[in-house]
Each structure stands twice: as structure tokens, then as C-alpha cells.
Amino acid sequence: MLLNQFLILGALLFSLGIYGLLVRRNAVMVLLSIELMLNAVNVNLVAFEAFLQNANVGGQIFAIFVITVAAAEVGVGLAIILMIFRNRTSANIDELDLMKW
């Protein structure tokens, strides 16, 4: 059974997510990067589940919960970004520097 290939895919997705989070300046793109990281987790969970052949299918259930929470998270995140865009007409996170130290 293939496992390492899936874990490497997961690790790549996760790293891409972190890279996007650090490099992207547009808040929507940052949100997308976070989604990538959460999906890396899903790939891991489902791959482990298929590998372990657990009777209680905990990994798949976990993945479904992660998908659901990720959807809620995007809802909250887009609401916050929309609010900022209305006040500033920009969603660039570098401009959020009113408070430092």
C-alpha cells in the first residue's frame, strides 16, 4: 500500500501553504494558503486511515470535521477581510500597521 507518497504530498501542500502565508500580501491569498495547509492535514488523515484499515474509521471522520470547520473558518475570514476592505479599500496585509510594539 502506498503511504509515503501521500505523506510527501501532504508535506508539500503544507509547506506550500506556509510559504504562501509568509510571502503573499493579499489577505485573500493568505486565506487560500491556510486552506492548503488544512487540506494537507486531510490528505494525511485519509492516507493514514486507508493504511491502518481501522475498524472505527476515526481518520475519515476527523477529515470530515476538518473540512466542515475549514468551511466555517473561511466564512469568518472572508467576513473580516470584507470589513477591512470596506474601511480601507485594500486587502493588503502590509498596510495593517497601526499598532506596533
Partner: protein
């Protein structure tokens, strides 16, 4: 197959969920001038949630376990649920006058607040990774929105987005760690992980998974180096929300950390102990040194709460070097610290809300002479700030005492070093706490202070009640430590000590 459900054990959660829905519905139908009823219902609902907790505490069934051990109501869960309900109650009391003066979205505010309290109450009972994850998200997600409550205020916007991005990043890190823990042990319940992972403490993948999870929880408890969101979010968010973030949300992070580390990874204490040692030392030192330079009272309290998180982490590091009894000792020390910290920090934020209304500013400079025209607020500020500093006979010194005795009791050189770092930091902290009290009592009233009418305006009744309740606990627990240690000792069983 239908699962067995113990409705009494679930009663606090059900009460909170029902209250939240009722508040949301009321908000829909009430005319604008009567929205304050949402606040009344929310406060009553949280008070009612305490009743089943008392019933559960006095019942002699002992540990109630449901849904295949995923949801457990034991002494630890009851004590922490009690803490979350009481601190939620105090935060709601602080919110009433503050939110009313903003005049908008009252119903939604209380709905989100109740949902977050519900999340923290579920968290105290969670004993598997899925329930733990859902509960943590339920605590945090409403807070992302509440931090940005003042929609038109750019600072509040910024607070919200910074908290959201770092919070979600933390969740992703934590989940990535959890996915590997599941893959390596094949278990989701914490007890199952402890059993299956017994011999894995040397496995690099296992260590990596554990460190990912600690990093995720580190964000939630705002330990250095995962604290960057805290000062900005605390400053920009409405003050009652900040009070909630610095107490309940932080305590929720600590509960997750306590439950996961002590009951799922007891054998890997040699791995997480040193990691937490570093977090504790960094949090105390960096946060205290930065707090010295703060001019805004909320930012000062933000760095102070990061430093306090460092003190709370000290006993975790001690657990790595001791036996079963020492493990229980360290566990009880952290719980004691969390309970006392909750009351003194909530009190400090209630003072900030009352003081900011009278002085019209959050700058410490502007608070000069507050003691001369509002002696009550001045005295309370003294009580809470000196308690945070750990001056006897206020409750803070007991928190420090149990923390130091857990660290010294471990008896290793590393722990003595950490205790020394903590001692130096306690002195540094006294300096900036005392500076606030000195400004309030000894400095002249600044020229920028608002006029007589604002300065002598009375404190709102609900805020006064929150102040009174917190100061009673802080003073009483200082004179009678057994009031708090009675509860924290009861939790020790979870750590096996």
C-alpha cells in the same frame, strides 16, 4: 445502535447552547430600545449553567464517561468548567455597560460570547483529538469576530485580522501534528494514544508531531515566540473581549495543553518538558522586559498576561524530571495558577474599563491622580495589580508559591535555573505593576483629564458587581489558600499522581 447519553453530565452545555439560541431569537424580535433583554438572558443563562455543575459535583457517581470515552466529566472537568462559567459570567457583567454605550449588535455580541463559553466548557470534558479540536475552534472562532466588533474602527479591524490569521495558522499546525499522532498510534482517544504511544518517545516522527501540537497550543496560550498577535489584538479589541481573551481563551489553551500532555503523552515527558522549559523561560523574560516600556495600559496588561503564561508553564517543565507524584504536583500547581490568575486578571481588566471611562484614555500617563477623584477604583487597581505581582496577602502570592514549590520540588539543576529565572522576572514584573499604581495615587491630575462630571460619574452597577466579586475572591483566596487549592488538588487524579 444509539449511544448512551447522560443528560445530567451534558446539562451545562445544553443550558449554554439553549441560552445562546434564545438570545439570538430574542435579538431578532425585540425592538431596538429593548435590546438590553439579550444581556439579561445571557447573564441568567450562564448563571443557570452553574447549577448542574454543582449537582454533578455533589453527586457520588464519580467519573461519568460518554461516547466511547470521548466526553468525560471528572473532577478536573468540573473544576475547569466551573472556572469557565464563572469567568464567562464576570466578562458578561463587564460587557453590559460597555456594549450598551456602543449601541449596536448587542444580541449578536452575547450570542457569540455564549458560544465561546460553550466551547470552553466542552473543552474541559474533551478526551479525544476530534472533540478537542472542535472545542478549541468553538472557543476561538467567535473571538475572531468579537475582536473586530467595532466595525468602523481601523484598530479593531486590524486586531481581528491579525488574531484570525495567526489563530488559523495555529490550528493548522496543531492539526498537522494531530494527523501524525493518529497515523503513528492509530488512536484518537487520549487514553488510547497514551497506551499505543508508550514506547514511541524516541521516534523522530512522533517527536515532530508532538512539537507541532505544542506550537499550535503555544499560539492559543500566547507563549513567546508565538505571542505576536496578543498585544495588537488586545489593544484593538473591545476591552471586555480582551478580558475574555486573556483569561478564558488562554485558560482554554492551557486546559488543552494540560489534558493532551499529561494524559496522552505521559511517557514523552522527556520530549515536551524541555520544549516547555524554553517556552516558559522566553515568555517570562521577553514579555516582562517589553512590558517595562509600555505606555498603554491594555498593552501593558497584554505583555503581563504573556509573562503570566510563562509562569504557568514552569510546572510543565518540572513534570519532565519527576516521578508520578511530581507529575501530579506540577499539574495541580498549573491549575491553581490558572484559577487565581483568572480572577486577578479579570479584575484588572474591569478596573481598566472603569478607569478608561473616567479618564477618557488608555495611556498610563492620563491616569495620573485617578486615586484622588476615584479612590475606590484606585484601591481596586492596587489590589489587582499587586496581586498580579504576587505580593502577599493577595491571592497572587499563592499562585507564585505553588509554582515555585513545584519547580524546586523537581530537584534538578535545570528546574532550579528556571525557578531562578522566574524569581528575577517576578521582581521585574513588580516594577511595572507598581508603576501603574504609583501613577494612579501619586501623580498629579494631567491637564488633559476630562471635566469634573465625567471623572466623578458613577461606575455601572454590573461592572461594579464584577469588580466586587473578583476582589472578594482575590483577597479571600490570599488569606485562605485552601479555597483554591481544594479545587486544584481535586484535579490531580488526571495526571495520575
Amino acid at each position: 445502535m444509539t449511544p448512551d447519553i447522560d443528560y445530567l453530565a451534558l446539562a451545562p452545555e445544553i443550558t449554554l447552547a439553549v441560552t445562546a439560541v434564545v438570545v439570538l431569537m430574542l435579538d431578532l424580535f425585540l425592538p431596538r430600545s429593548q435590546k438590553y433583554w439579550t444581556a439579561v438572558v445571557a447573564v441568567l443563562g450562564v448563571s443557570f449553567a452553574a447549577l448542574p455543575l454543582i449537582a454533578l459535583a455533589v453527586s457520588d457517581v464519580g467519573e461519568r464517561s460518554m461516547l466511547g470515552g470521548s466526553f468525560v466529566v471528572d473532577d478536573f472537568a468540573l473544576v475547569l468548567k466551573g472556572l469557565f462559567v464563572v469567568s464567562g459570567y464576570l466578562v458578561l457583567l463587564m460587557s453590559v455597560s460597555y456594549i450598551e454605550s456602543d449601541r449596536y449588535y448587542q444580541g449578536e455580541y452575547y450570542f457569540l460570547m455564549l458560544m465561546s463559553i460553550l466551547g470552553s466548557v466542552v473543552l474541559a470534558s474533551s478526551r479525544d483529538l476530534i472533540t478537542l479540536f472542535i472545542a478549541i475552534e468553538l472557543v476561538s472562532q467567535p473571538m475572531y469576530l468579537l475582536a473586530g466588533w467595532r466595525k468602523g474602527d481601523l484598530r479593531s479591524n486590524e486586531a481581528s485580522l491579525k488574531y484570525y490569521l495567526l489563530g488559523v495558522l495555529a490550528s493548522a499546525l496543531m492539526l498537522y501534528g494531530m494527523s501524525f499522532v493518529y497515523g503513528l498510534t492509530g488512536e484518537l482517544t487520549l487514553a488510547g494514544i497514551a497506551e499505543a504511544g508508550a514506547g514511541m518517545a524516541d521516534d523522530p516522527a512522533f517527536i515532530m508531531a508532538l512539537l507541532f501540537m505544542i506550537a499550535g497550543f503555544g499560539f492559543k496560550v500566547s507563549a513567546v515566540p508565538f505571542h505576536f498577535w496578543a498585544p495588537d489584538t488586545y489593544e484593538g479589541a473591545p476591552t471586555p473581549v480582551t478580558a475574555y481573551l486573556s483569561v478564558s481563551s488562554k485558560a482554554a489553551g492551557f486546559v488543552a495543553l494540560l489534558v493532551v500532555l499529561y494524559s496522552a503523552f505521559p511517557d514523552a515527558a522527556g520530549v515536551w518538558g524541555p520544549a516547555v522549559w524554553i517556552l516558559a523561560a522566553l515568555s517570562m523574560t521577553l514579555a516582562n522586559l517589553t512590558a517595562l516600556r509600555q505606555t498603554n495600559i491594555v498593552r501593558l496588561l497584554a505583555y503581563s498576561s504573556v509573562a503570566q503564561a510563562g509562569f504557568m508553564l514552569v510546572p510543565f517543565a518540572a513534570a519532565a524530571t519527576t516521578d508520578q507524584i511530581g507529575l501530579g504536583e506540577a499539574f495541580a500547581a498549573t491549575v491553581t495558577y490558572i484559577v487565581i490568575y483568572a480572577f486577578m486578571n479579570l479584575g484588572a481588566f474591569a478596573v481598566v474599563i472603569a478607569g478608561a471611562r473616567k479618564t477618557g484614555t488608555g495611556d498610563i500617563e492620563g491616569w495620573g491622580g485617578l486615586g484622588s477623584y476615584a479612590p475606590g477604583i484606585g484601591l481596586l487597581a492596587g489590589a489587582f495589580f499587586f496581586s498580579l505581582a504576587g505580593i502577599p496577602p493577595l491571592a497572587g502570592w499563592i499562585a507564585k508559591l505553588v509554582m515555585f514549590s513545584a519547580a524546586m520540588g523537581a530537584g534538578s539543576g535545570w528546574m532550579v535555573a528556571l525557578a531562578a529565572i522566574a524569581a528575577v522576572n517576578a521582581v521585574i514584573a513588580l516594577f511595572y505593576y507598581a508603576r501603574v499604581v504609583k501613577t494612579i495615587w501619586m501623580d498629579p491630575v494631567p491637564a488633559t483629564a476630562p471635566d469634573e462630571q465625567v471623572r466623578t460619574s458613577p461606575v455601572a452597577g454590573s461592572l461594579g458587581l464584577a469588580l466586587g466579586l473578583s476582589v472578594v475572591v482575590v483577597v479571600a483566596a490570599g488569606f485562605f489558600p485552601s479555597l483554591v487549592t481544594f479545587f486544584s488538588e481535586a484535579t490531580r487524579a488526571l495526571a495520575g499522581g
